[in-house]
Structure formats: structure tokens, C-alpha cells
């Protein structure tokens, strides 16, 4: 089953620190390729903290790890601002020319058992076309 969620990107100091050191490290990947979900949404998807989820919309898709939120926000999810979240951000902007980094709509579902968390090299090759 898939859930339609709104995703807001956030800043995270651990991810920021890892990204300053290397965009290509496992540390940066593990701090970036994740989605923080409400307990109720996680249960609705039938997955546990740490399991892989496919997050998909008209712009693109990524496989990221599920994280259980310490807060309550059903229907709303958070992702660190990163190349992974940007795979889902449309280049359409509001009148002021700002893209919807904090208003991503996407379908979230458990990833297939064989699907690994999307690697940054895969993201770069998609960008390069």
C-alpha cells in the first residue's frame, strides 16, 4: 500500500557536518537518504524504523530509510535537505521564484526487498542524463 504524504525538508547538523566533509561518504548518505514519519503513518505502511521506503512523485523517485519521528504529525513527513530530497522537488516556482522545497507531495510505499537505498552516484547519473 502507498500513502500520499506532504514532505517538508529540514536542516540537520549531523547531516550538514557529514556533507561538508564529503558528499560521497556513507555517513552523508545515511544522514541524508531518510524520511521521518509519524508513528501512525509508519504503522499504516507496515514498516519499522530503518526499513527502506520508495518515495515517488511526478518529478522522480528515491529509495530512502524510514525513521520514526519523536513528534506527532500524521500525513506530514520530513527529509533532510539533500540531493535525495531534490529528486522529488519540482522546478515550478511560486510567483516569487521560489521552488517548493518545503511542500513536496509524494507517494510513500515499502520498497521492494531487492531495492537498495539510492546511491549518490545514481543521482548524479540521472542528473547528467
Amino acid at each position: 500500500m502507498a500513502l500520499e504524504l506532504s514532505i517538508i525538508t529540514i536542516r540537520d547538523i549531523f547531516q550538514d557536518e557529514a556533507g561538508k566533509k564529503s558528499r560521497y561518504s556513507e555517513e552523508y548518505k545515511s544522514q541524508s537518504a531518510l524520511i521521518i514519519l509519524d508513528k501512525q503513518d509508519l504503522a499504516g505502511l507496515g514498516v519499522k524504523d530503518g526499513q527502506s521506503l520508495l518515495v515517488k512523485n511526478d518529478v522522480g523517485s528515491v529509495v530512502v530509510s524510514a525513521r520514526l519521528s519523536e513528534d506527532t504529525h500524521p500525513g506530514l513527513a520530513f527529509m533532510p535537505n539533500s540531493p535525495w530530497s531534490n529528486q522529488l522537488v519540482s522546478d515550478a516556482t511560486c510567483e516569487a521564484g521560489i521552488p517548493g522545497f518545503k511542500g513536496i507531495k509524494a507517494a510513500v510505499q515499502p520498497a521492494e526487498a531487492s531495492a537498495a537505498v539510492t546511491d549518490i552516484s545514481e543521482i548524479l547519473s540521472r542528473i547528467k542524463g
Partner: protein, 407 residues
């Protein structure tokens, strides 16, 4: 003492020693700053043309050739460069008839425009430390984005008029869609807004201040908020990307709130700029052209507007020079794709998705650590700094000058 260019607070009290390619001593650095200093030893770039290693002179010559033959080049980045480099960048754009834009274009630009044009009252962070009894973090989470903001300026320190600090004399409020790390510190002073609901929330505050019942939010809590604002002697609001994105550039409503608050007491706005010298670029370009970002010098004329923003120009330009920034990681997928199709020149100390897709890569010294210069702190205070490491690499200022000479 060293300066940290890891964020726009530009902390000047850093004690750091480096020996044998390692950071051997670090005092007063936050986690983000520590990452920034440690990064000087990892993933450094070297001069490249078409993914092949070349010498610096060849890379600079190739960069000049690409820019010279482009009909409508885009010069983008700039928020992680010194004022000196930014000044050369703006001259280069003028000389080339290019479009120039920075990271404020898709982030805090509208807020910065309101502040620099005086439509929002602002102050320095030193004023905040000395006078503020109420600090409001709005769509901002300094515990993650500006880790020493609360300890140096807005909550914990004792200031001239605030000798009792947070224990008795300072109140911190957070307006956010979530329980952020900063909100967790402020406990019951988190005011939740729905995503995109900040304009409505401002209307609700204006209603409460006018003695009316607010239409949104927990009415009792909104009335409490109104009372806290009225009782404030000297307040500061720190809008982050959360508020700016939610208002979609409509700063009028925020300006209206500040005008109303200042009828009652003192309230100032200090932006939460991400990169260390975004504000510097906005001030310089404004001085030169009257606009803080999104400017084209094509045909010797200054044109400003959404067409000149990186979001649009990425699709219409025929070459791009990217300085100190990684748009392929940070911009929406289709914009990153549009940039990757161009002949890209990346001037950057670090390897990134952008340098990996660039036709020409030019390594630069890291400003603050390996190169001196001047930058403008998030609150407008100009700060000069000297390097603490001699890297043997040119600063982006020198690289840009050499490109300009070659053109």
C-alpha cells in the same frame, strides 16, 4: 584566533591548530564548524578539463575560453566567497554581459530585500545580546543551522541590559510546523503552524493585538502569545527558510506585523542567512545595480527579474560559472539537469556533484581557513579575517581576476 566560515555567524573566537594535515586543536567550534574545518583535509579538488587532470593555468585558460565564446553566460553561487571575490565576480558579469545570481534567489532573497531596503526594522546580533528580552525563531532551527546563535547572542548570554540571561530575563519562542531541536529547548513556547499557514498565523497575531478573537490556532494560546508580545521590552524575530518559503516571498504581511509590534514596543528582524557571505553579495550587487540578486548585464543594460534567476537562467544560458556552491546537489532535479547539460566551470575547494559534472574544475583556497578577506555577517556586521593555513592555492578572488584578464 581564527574565524569560522561554516555559517553566517562568522564566529571569531576559534582557536585551531593544524599540523601534518590534521586538525590538532579546536576550541569554540560547533559541530558544523568542526565539520567545516575538518573538511579542509578531505575531498579537495584539483584542476581538470573534461575530467582529465591539467595544470591550473590550462584550467583557467579553458574557463576564459568558454565564457568568452558564450552568448549568454550565467555566473552563479557567490554566497561562500569573500566580498573581494564577489566584487570581481560582479565586474566579470558586467564585462561579459552575463547574468549573475546567488543562492538568495531561491531562498532568503525576499526577506533580505525587505531588510536592506529598510522596510523591516533590523539590528545587529550584538544589540540582541545586549537588549533583547524576547527572541522569536520563526521557521528557523538555529540548534541545527546556526548552532552558536543561542549561546552567543539570543538566549544564554548576559548582555548590557540583560544581566540575568535566560534564567530570568530572556524568553525564547518558536513558531514552526514541528518540534525542532530549538523548539524542544523552548518547551511550552512552541507555537505550531500548519504547513504554509504562516500568513494566517500573522493575521491571527494581528487580531489578538487588536483585542479580537483570532480565527486560527488555539485561541487561549494565541491570547497568551499576544500578551507575551505586548509585555516585551525589546524583541527580535529571526525568520528562517520555513517562514520565507511559507510566505512565498510575500513580505508585506510580515512588514505589517512588525509595523504593528513597533507601535506597542521595540521589535527587530535579523535574518538567518545560511552561507557565510550571502548578505555580502546582496549588499554589493544592490550598491552596484539597485537589486540584491537576479541581474543581467546583457548589452550593457541592467535587467532584473525572474528571468534572471538561476531557476530560469539555468535553462536559457549557454554556459555557467559556478563559484563555491553545489547547485547539482541543492537545486530541484530539473534545474540540476539543465545546468549539467551546459559547459560548466566550477571554482570550488571541494569535490561535489557539480565539480563532477563540470567541464572545467578550478581548485580554490577555503576562505577563512586558507584565504583572508572580508565578509558580512548575517546581521550586516562586516568582518575581516586572515588565513590560518597556507595552502599554496589561489583564492577565488585571484582565480576570477585571472579569468577576467584572460578574457
Amino acid at each position: 584566533m581564527a574565524i569560522c566560515t561554516g555559517c553566517s555567524l562568522l564566529c571569531q573566537d576559534i582557536e585551531a591548530s593544524v599540523s601534518e594535515g590534521k586538525l590538532t586543536k579546536a576550541k569554540n567550534l560547533c559541530r558544523k564548524g568542526h565539520g567545516h574545518f575538518q573538511a579542509s583535509f578531505s575531498e579537495r579538488t584539483s584542476p581538470m578539463i573534461g575530467r582529465k587532470q591539467v595544470d591550473l593555468n590550462q584550467a583557467i585558460a579553458r574557463a576564459a575560453e568558454i565564457l568568452r565564446s558564450a552568448k549568454s553566460p550565467l555566473l552563479f553561487g557567490w554566497s561562500n566567497s569573500t566580498l573581494e571575490a564577489q566584487r570581481v565576480g560582479i565586474s566579470l558579469a558586467e564585462k561579459l554581459g552575463a547574468t549573475i545570481d546567488d543562492t538568495s534567489s531561491f531562498c532568503q532573497g525576499s526577506l533580505m530585500e525587505s531588510i536592506l531596503s529598510g522596510r523591516l526594522p533590523s539590528c545587529t546580533l550584538d544589540d540582541v545580546r545586549n537588549y533583547a528580552d524576547t527572541s522569536i525563531f520563526w521557521g528557523a532551527d538555529p540548534s541545527n543551522s546556526h548552532p552558536r546563535h543561542l549561546s552567543r547572542f539570543s538566549y544564554y548570554p548576559r548582555g548590557e541590559k540583560r544581566q540575568k540571561s535566560y534564567e530570568e530575563e530572556r524568553t525564547c519562542l518558536v513558531v514552526d510546523v514541528r518540534m525542532s531541536a530549538t523548539a524542544a529547548l523552548c518547551k511550552e513556547n512552541l507555537f505550531r503552524v500548519s504547513p504554509g499557514g504562516d500568513a494566517e498565523f500573522i493575521e491571527a497575531i494581528l487580531s489578538v493585538l487588536a483585542g479580537k478573537i483570532p480565527r486560527v490556532g488555539d485561541k487561549k494560546k494565541m491570547i497568551e502569545l499576544g500578551t507575551m508580545l505586548k509585555k516585551t521590552e525589546w524583541g527580535a524575530i529571526f525568520p528562517g527558510p520555513g517562514l520565507v518559503y511559507s510566505l512565498q516571498g510575500n513580505m508585506e504581511i510580515l512588514e505589517k506585523l512588525l509595523a504593528r509590534l513597533n507601535e506597542i514596543t521595540v521589535f527587530k528582524v535579523v535574518p538567518m542567512v545560511g552561507h557565510f557571505n550571502m548578505r555580502g553579495f546582496n549588499e554589493l550587487l544592490r550598491e552596484k545595480t539597485g537589486h540584491i540578486n537576479r541581474v543581467s548585464f546583457k548589452g550593457g543594460e541592467i535587467v532584473h527579474g525572474p528571468e534572471q534567476s538561476v531557476m530560469t537562467a539555468a535553462k536559457s544560458c549557454d554556459a555557467a560559472l559556478i563559484v563555491g556552491y553545489d547547485p547539482l546537489s541543492s537545486l530541484p532535479f530539473a534545474t540540476a539537469q539543465a545546468l549539467a547539460r551546459l559547459p560548466l566551470i566550477a571554482i570550488d575547494p571541494h569535490r561535489s556533484l557539480t565539480t563532477d559534472a563540470a567541464e572545467v574544475v578550478i581548485p580554490a583556497a577555503i576562505s577563512g581557513l586558507e584565504a583572508g578577506g572580508t565578509a558580512v555577517r548575517t546581521d550586516g556586521v562586516k568582518i575581516e579575517f586572515e588565513p590560518i593555513i597556507e595552502p599554496g592555492l589561489p583564492a577565488d578572488e585571484q582565480i576570477l581576476k585571472r579569468i577576467m584578464e584572460a578574457i
